[in-house]
């Protein structure tokens, strides 16, 4: 099954890259990438999100042409590029460590990307790029004389200067310190949107994926678990793995009858109609905890975090995570009662095995 | 592309250097005789004729076998060997060109091959050299066969890879048979001889105190005594007729495969010229093969030498291979 999100927009824009049934294994071991398919529309940013070892970087390297897939095909503008060597694909990549040529200055690095532009015009173009990435004045420096953020902008400018059909970003922000990461991320997104280039980004940072991308593809063990807008991925996870990777969640086994579910916490509504036993994901902020001397719940953990307050509550032998607004009045061991205040999300997981990803991930 | 041009130019410079090195040579001489001896006379030839000669030095047997192995493709034009045996071996193999008669006509029989395929450049005698400080007169061996006795244990220097030594072993095989020769070689080996590369170092080895006796050619010792009157080495013959007193020759031949027969014969003629012959006897202390040469006062008179020498025809010394095998079986090689 092919995942196609945002059908409403598909009609307006053409497909930029399509991946069909991509598979790859190394040295006869398990498949690192297993029958992967997706499409990215022109001008979109797709984030491939997943824990390390989930196959997202291998996917990126296959798209770039650095690895040969065992099976499957890659189409750029509908043209099959699977067997094309990297230099013939016109796909740009910015590496995690930027891969700036240490023996070239900033301007030389950027001009190296302008292979197809006549040398006479390169000098004029370089100014545009230097301005765009705000590196004017640093063009005669060598990479080692730049900060991490500056190096990254040079790498981006070098790649964009080649005017690629597709831009690949491999964990682009992981080498930056936390303080710099947010601003760089916003600047870079703005820059990318200005140039209108299509992007595939690989990251293990869910916040990065949610804020940066138009589409997020959650990967696990070489498979795509869910593909959708950041809102869809966060608010309507299809399985436990996605729900848990994007923030905390409570997985509750519920007996569904239509949109009414019976749970150990009492009755709740769900987002879709189902009948039978299902796992339901309830985000901590969708639970309410109140002091109740009669209540069966007990506060086990209490973390005051400034804007909000995080509790772990024991209730009838189960632990529940609850996120309360900033007032943090409950104490350890205090008797409380729990209430679900928002409809839960019904998951597709096997009720007997909530974390069996092979079953739960999209094939 | 700057880098690329740079690399191309480096490689082309190397190629130019290489082709310069590999330029065609005029004459190639394989010499079984030592560089110190050959170089001056060859340089004289180059000066006189303007013909360039490249010399490949090696041991006589090595080069003789090498020429056979190279066969038709041998780069050598001439072969200058240390002994008649090697020359005979090559003549038997049919590798040598026949020299013009006038080159060797009139020389004593001992100095040419019967078929005119090689000619002697000088004559020499085998002697026993000994230490004047460590050897008493009564210890001097009467026969080369005495050297396997216990009193000579660890005292005798031999150069088993040397062509003259090997020719002497061939002569022993001719006169005394293979079995007797092998017995002697094995006895010598068991007597812990001192192994040297050549005659010069064997003689020097006596002076340096490494050995007391050495089986060498006659002309090496005078080179030392000429500059060092107190040189503690003397030489003598064994009893008359002993195979240890073999008289042998150094010979030169032109290869059939040489593309420069005329230039090669020119070198042969030069080596038989009075000037070269005088050099061999005066500087190299050998016996000249042509008359009209002032004899060297340091050399024992030819008559005495021939008196001591065993009676043998030099053409019989051609079985070099058999000698090498025997030396190998006795563990000398």
């Amino acid at each position: 099954m092919k995942v196609q999100a945002n059908e409403n927009r598909a009609a307006e824009r053409t497909e930029q890259i399509r991946v069909e049934g991509l598979s790859k294994s190394f040295g006869g071991g398990d498949r690192v990438v297993d029958d992967l398919s997706f499409t990215v529309l022109q001008g979109d940013i797709l984030a491939l999100l997943g824990p390390s070892g989930c196959g997202k970087t291998t996917t990126l390297r296959m798209i770039a042409g650095f690895e040969t897939p065992d099976a499957g095909d890659i189409f750029l503008h509908g043209r099959k590029v699977t067997n094309l060597s990297p230099q013939k694909r016109n796909i740009g990549i910015v590496f995690q460590d930027y891969a700036l040529f240490p023996h070239m200055r900033v301007d030389e690095n950027i001009m190296f990307g302008m292979r197809l532009i006549p040398p006479a015009e390169r000098a004029a173009r370089i100014d545009k790029w230097l301005d765009l990435v705000a590196l004017r004045g640093l063009e005669k420096r060598y990479p080692h004389q730049l900060s991490g953020g500056q190096q990254q902008r040079v790498a981006l400018a070098r790649t964009l200067a080649a005017e690629p059909d597709l831009l690949l970003l491999d964990e682009p922000f992981s080498n930056l310190d936390a303080a710099l990461r947010n601003t760089t991320r916003n600047e870079m997104r703005q820059l990318i949107k200005e140039t209108g280039v299509t992007v595939i980004l690989v990251t293990h940072d869910q916040a990065e994926a949610l804020t940066f991308a138009d589409q997020v593809g959650m990967m696990s063990e070489g498979r795509l678990c869910q593909l959708g807008t950041p809102e869809q991925i966060y608010q309507q996870p299809q399985n436990a793995l996605v729900a848990e990777f994007l923030g905390h969640t409570n997985l509750i086994l519920a007996e569904l009858d239509g949109k009414i579910a019976k749970t150990p916490l009492g009755t709740m509504t769900t987002t879709v109609q189902k009948h039978g036993t299902y796992w339901v994901s309830v985000r901590p902020e969708h639970l309410e905890v109140v002091s109740d001397p009669e209540g069966e719940g007990r506060i086990m953990t209490r973390e005051f975090r400034g804007p909000d307050c995080y509790y772990e509550v024991e209730y009838r032998g189960q632990e529940y995570k609850v996120l309360s607004p900033f007032y943090c009045t409950l104490n350890m061991g205090e008797p409380v009662s729990l209430r679900i205040i928002h409809p839960g999300v019904v998951l597709k997981d096997d009720p007997d095995c909530p974390r069996c990803p092979v079953v739960s991930c999209v094939r | 592309m700057k880098l690329f041009t740079w690399y191309v130019s480096v490689i082309s410079v190397c190629l130019v250097v290489l082709t310069g090195m590999a330029q065609a040579s005029e004459l190639t001489l394989y010499s079984g005789r030592g560089e110190a001896f050959v170089k001056p006379i060859i340089e004289q030839f180059q000066r006189d004729t303007g013909i360039k000669v490249n010399v490949r030095y090696g041991d006589t047997a090595q080069l003789a076998v090498l020429i056979q192995e190279e066969g038709q493709r041998s780069p050598a034009d001439l072969f200058w060997g240390q002994d008649a045996g090697a020359m005979g071996a090559l003549a038997n193999a049919g590798i040598l060109a026949t020299l013009p008669q006038d080159v060797y006509v009139g020389l004593p029989d001992i100095y040419t091959s019967a078929t005119g395929q090689w000619v002697a450049t000088s004559g020499r005698a085998r002697v026993v050299a000994y230490s004047t400080t460590r050897v008493k007169q009564e210890e001097l061996p009467q026969s080369v066969f005495d050297l396997t006795r216990p009193e000579y244990r660890g005292r005798v220097a031999i150069p088993p890879t040397n062509g003259s030594f090997q020719a002497f072993v061939t002569a022993m095989r001719v006169l005394h048979g293979d079995a007797r020769t092998l017995e002697w070689l094995e006895g010598l080996k068991a007597n812990q001889p001192k192994i040297f590369r050549n005659n010069t170092t064997s003689v020097a080895g006596i002076a340096d105190g490494e050995a007391d006796f050495a089986l060498v050619n006659n002309y090496y010792l005078p080179r030392f005594t000429a500059t060092d009157k107190d040189y503690p080495v003397a030489q003598t013959f064994f009893a008359d007729g002993d195979v240890g007193n073999l008289v042998n020759v150094a010979g030169i031949a032109v290869l059939k495969t040489s593309k420069q027969q005329n230039a090669a014969v020119q070198l042969v003629r030069f080596l038989l010229s009075p000037a070269a012959q005088q050099y061999f006897t005066t500087v190299a202390n050998e016996y000249a093969v042509t008359p009209n040469v002032i004899s060297n006062p340091d050399l024992t008179d030819t008559k005495v030498v021939l008196q001591a020498a065993p009676k043998i025809n030099l053409d019989q010394l051609a079985d070099l291979e058999g000698t090498l095998n025997l030396l190998r079986r006795a563990g000398h090689l």
């Binding site: 013939k88 990307g113 197809l116 080649a162 | 690329f4």
Partner: protein, 539 residues
């Protein structure tokens, strides 16, 4: 039928992985030259065996099972054992003195201990041979005629003095890497000093010592110059005599194969011993060096020892050369030959160095970027040329030229090819580490910007490899400049090198005439020693 087809598919898949590896396919533009280079490494082996097989059965029995071979084997083993024993005596206390004591001038002593590497075995033998004898320096200066140093002890001393720095460097590194907390914990457990040396320090030094033994042992087995000058009848000398004196090439080939087998068994033995003793430091944290011992009563002994070691390995050859150059110099014309001989040496050594580097590149690059079982084996095959005793290699190349490539026979090209085979590993060392240091990302970035493999090589990879390539060229060049046995057998008629000049003159006892050439070699080898010192950054 489908089952069979699937099996075939599976087999083909396995084969593909064996050849190309699991990742991207290695580009044929590199794979083909690398295959050719790897195949070329087997050429000497093939010709050696082919030549040896020409013996008929009768001949074979007499050749292989003669008592002479046993004598040569024992002599070679005695020589190797003697060199390793004396080398250990020269290096172990020295390494301890410079790493674990308060000995003054430790840095200088360390540098001096590496200097003997600049004096090749045959030059060391030359220096020793100039002392004794009627015309030796002892007789000339002090009127003291001592016997010539030669034979077994001459060869052992010459080779030990030349090679002990290898052991020293290994032992020094091992001692510096020894965490003092190991000793301290042993001490706190109540072990005596002797027990600590035996149970803690020695097992830690062993891998370094054995690795040094492997390098030195292989070198000694293959050495020709010092052994021939000292006239010690080891395998290599016998091989040369077969070639030079008797010219029985079948026997020479068999002797070569026996020597090769000896060298191989040595390697296997080392691997076996080393594998059982993998002593990586367990636990985290940086290594804390031990507190240096204060030499009190031992200081005079240490100084005496230093005088013996450094005096014989550094001072002696330098003084001997100085004597023949200054006090008893040869004719001026000999000095004038040195520059020409140098140019002659270099004219073959430089192409060999460039060729070795050019050929090393595809092997190193493939092994670093496209490792597959085949490519790993191809890379390893380069060690054949290094492990082959040089005389064996040269002899095999003579066979090769005579039988197959006569156009190469007695040309400088054959010498260059043989040198290249012998030195490929030397060139690969720095190039491999340079490639490993240059991240593959850089090349991938260049490809993704649309540059092909050749443009990527020149623009991106080469600038990163420049240092490694230059180091490779220099290493091979210096090796060839002082190489003796291969040169002696393969140099074309009329071609002369510094090393051959030293050898042929020393053989004739022309010590003064050899001196200028020997001095040139020592000065030149000093550069390679300088490079080794620079690599040992701590010095």
């Amino acid at each position: 039928m489908t089952g069979y087809n699937e099996l075939m598919q599976y087999q083909i898949g396995l084969m593909r992985k064996w050849i190309f590896g699991a990742g991207r396919k290695a580009p044929p533009s590199l794979l083909v030259p690398a295959l050719v280079v790897a195949a070329a490494m087997f050429v000497p082996l093939v010709y050696l065996v082919a030549r040896a097989m020409q013996a008929d059965r009768q001949q074979l029995v007499t050749l292989v099972f003669s008592s002479r071979n046993l004598e040569l084997l024992i002599n070679t083993l005695l020589l190797t054992g003697g060199v390793l024993a004396i080398g250990t005596f020269l290096s172990l206390p020295l390494a301890w003195l410079v790493t674990r004591t308060t000995l003054p001038w430790r840095r200088l002593v360390t540098v001096l201990a590496v200097v003997p590497l600049a004096i090749p075995g045959y030059v060391m033998a030359y220096a020793l041979m100039g002392i004794g004898g009627r015309y030796g320096v002892a007789a000339r200066l002090f009127d003291l005629q001592i016997p010539n140093i030669q034979g077994y002890w001459g060869a052992v001393i010459a080779l030990a003095l030349y090679t002990f720095p290898y052991l020293f460097l290994n032992l020094r590194a091992a001692l510096l890497g020894l965490d003092s907390s190991l000793e301290e914990s042993a001490r706190s457990l109540g072990y005596s000093n002797m027990q600590i040396v035996r149970k803690v320090i020695f097992p830690h030094l062993l891998p370094g010592l054995l690795a040094g033994y492997l390098v030195v042992g292989l070198y000694v087995m293959g050495d020709f110059g010092a052994i021939a000058l000292m006239r010690y009848e080891a395998f290599s000398f016998a091989i040369y005599n077969q070639y030079a004196g008797a010219f029985d090439r079948i026997y020479a080939a068999w002797l070569s194969i026996m020597l090769l087998a000896l060298a191989l068994s040595f390697v296997v033995m080392e691997i076996f011993v080393l594998r059982r003793r993998r002593l990586a430091s367990v636990g985290s944290g940086s290594i804390r060096p031990a507190k240096p011992a204060v030499l009190k009563k031992l200081l005079p002994v240490a100084i005496l020892y230093l005088i013996v070691v450094l005096g014989s390995s550094v001072l002696l050859p330098v003084l001997m050369l100085a004597y023949w150059l200054v006090l008893a110099p040869p004719d001026i014309s000999i000095f004038l030959q040195v520059p020409w001989t140098f140019v002659s040496s270099a004219s073959a050594a430089l192409p060999a160095a460039l060729l070795a580097v050019v050929l090393a590149f595809p092997l190193c690059y493939l092994a670093a970027r496209y490792p597959s079982p085949l490519i790993i084996w191809m890379e390893r095959s380069a060690y054949i040329g290094y492990a082959l005793p040089p005389l064996t290699l040269a002899l095999a190349m003579v066979f090769f030229a005579l039988q197959t490539a006569f156009f190469l026979y007695q040309t400088i090209f054959l010498l260059i090819v043989a040198w290249t085979i012998a030195t490929l590993v030397l060139a690969m060392g720095p190039i491999r580490s340079a490639i490993l240091q240059a991240r593959p990302n850089l090349e991938e970035a260049s490809w993704s910007l649309g540059y092909g493999p050749i443009a990527t090589f020149f623009y991106v990879l080469l600038p990163r490899l420049r240092r490694g390539i230059i180091a490779g060229i220099v290493l091979v060049f210096l090796f060839c400049m002082k190489e003796l046995p291969i040169t002696l057998l393969l140099s074309p008629t009329g071609f002369n090198t510094l090393a051959v000049s030293v050898f042929t003159r020393t053989v004739e006892g022309m010590m003064a005439e050899a001196a200028p050439f020997a001095a040139a070699i020592v000065l030149f080898s000093g550069i390679s020693v300088g490079m080794i010192l620079r690599r040992e950054k701590a010095l």
